[in-house]
Symmetry: D2
Subunit: 168 residues, 4 copies
């Protein structure tokens, strides 16, 4: 199957982030291993379980940005997924280590998107890429403008700094 270009290089001063040498983008990076529970009888990870890995990536990024998703909800907002997609290049097998790369992508008035790339933890081969698009809802579950703190998080995510200053 086809693939995409992605050449992650760890940032010297902060190993929670990598720089993609193909695009210059900064991505958050976290890692985990597949469980038996994740596999199916074809011997590989069942496709739906990648959404669990994406959630782990998203949650880790937000925590490392000092704004855990739990606090976002405590402040009166929820960000349910309104759109998602995954493209698979290679399977993950049982007990495989993986890197989950997550990046805040587009942001609109009431919607925002996370992008994901999962690579094999040893070979570095690209397993899949995908995105989840979220809509801000308030306490009454109606669409609303993205909360200020999340918007700041989006703006202050390393790749923005890097783009401006070239220093990260």
């Amino acid at each position: 199957m086809k693939s995409i270009r992605f050449r992650p290089q760890p940032l010297q001063h902060d190993t929670r982030y990598i720089k993609d040498m193909e695009t210059g983008f900064i991505w958050h990076q976290c890692s985990m291993r597949t469980l038996y529970a994740d596999t199916d009888r074809a011997n590989v990870v069942y496709h739906a379980n990648y959404l669990r890995y994406f959630e782990f990536g998203r949650a880790s990024l937000l925590r490392d940005a000092n704004y855990p998703y739990k606090e976002i909800e405590e402040s009166g907002y929820v960000y349910p997924i309104i759109d998602l997609a995954i493209t698979f290049f290679h399977p993950l097998y049982y007990d495989d280590p993986m890197f989950i790369h997550t990046r805040p992508a587009e942001i609109e008035r009431i919607k925002l998107q996370f992008d994901y790339i999962i690579t094999h933890g040893e070979s570095g081969i690209i397993i899949c890429k995908g995105f989840t698009k979220h809509c801000a809802l308030n306490n009454r579950r109606t669409p609303t403008a993205i909360d200020a703190k999340t918007r700041i998080l989006w703006q202050s995510f390393p790749h923005k700094i890097e783009e401006k200053k070239g220093t990260l």
Copy 2:
């Protein structure tokens, strides 16, 4: 592996229930098929997924008793699981049909238990047995006496009628 004795015979006038000819007990019966999502790389259903089948059995019993669990919660109670166990005799494979047999078992002042037996939908072989024990909690999440309607359901479940009248 060892096994248990269980000889289900459909009730003539209501196919949602069976009588176990070994014990005389009446059990609720529902059926479903395993999905690819349920299997693991050993080619069989991953053990945790049987708890999902148990939930389906329990929910089906309650619905057929005209007291869906959703209504129980709407009346201000929740019945979280405080104890559970499963004993496995044979695996289920992909696309296998199964019968899930569920029975209201012990009931105390604030606790109640469901028993389960899953059989293969074609061979009738016993796959596993298990139970879930639940504790009644009120709106403030503190243990409380089992609600009246659930208690009635327990008393009116067919096997009680059968035991009294021998007619079901």
Copy 3:
């Protein structure tokens, strides 16, 4: 949130299929209910679980077409997912009934696609739409031409007959 047009009408002689009066397309239809296991703390079905519903729709369609996926695999082929997407319009809640509509969509030499639309089982409201794209692999796990029987299934699916003869 936005929505799509979809006006399913049961086929008189075969309730396993519906006709979408908006497009004229025939869709396979099956139904199930959400479980507690499917929900998350936002009170709704967790997004990844819709892929499980899609699998159920796909498996039901293949079974009703007399070519269960299990047999496809027994014949030496697997059809892993290489691409998927879901767009959500409304959430499903606990114990909600749903209709899962599935349709064989594009077919190429080695790839094929299923489309899905899930509607609420009572209100008929559209919950989500999505697709899964699969690639045919042979026993050595290399891409291969779609097997003859699956190709026939694709061609003989009702909507083709309907398009030619207008009679289904």
Copy 4:
């Protein structure tokens, strides 16, 4: 609800293990956080997901003992679960950190058991305890004597050393 006594104290020279000051037993310890995917509409972790945490504990113990379960299977054995139980004391909520404590318990000729205790990662409160009992199967999926390497692992697990020498 009731509780059990468990007073874990980190081992100075190896933080992957703790000593329970109540019983003197050594337990392996690993940690993770709950995900949104793990919760249900009662706002807590759905009971079946604790089996996933148990698997993570078991896999981590085996890896730290230099005998990853993947290698066990590669050597021609599988250890399916034939019995399991969980007792719940307190719920876990979204984003809660937890410690998973795992210990090799009974071992017979063809069966072995892991015990588990999960505690809250901050308060230390005991969330649940449980066990999984496994049966050794060979390549033909028939019960067989536990493989030599697993048996050695059992014997060399720290708590045995500690019991003999009091030095770990």
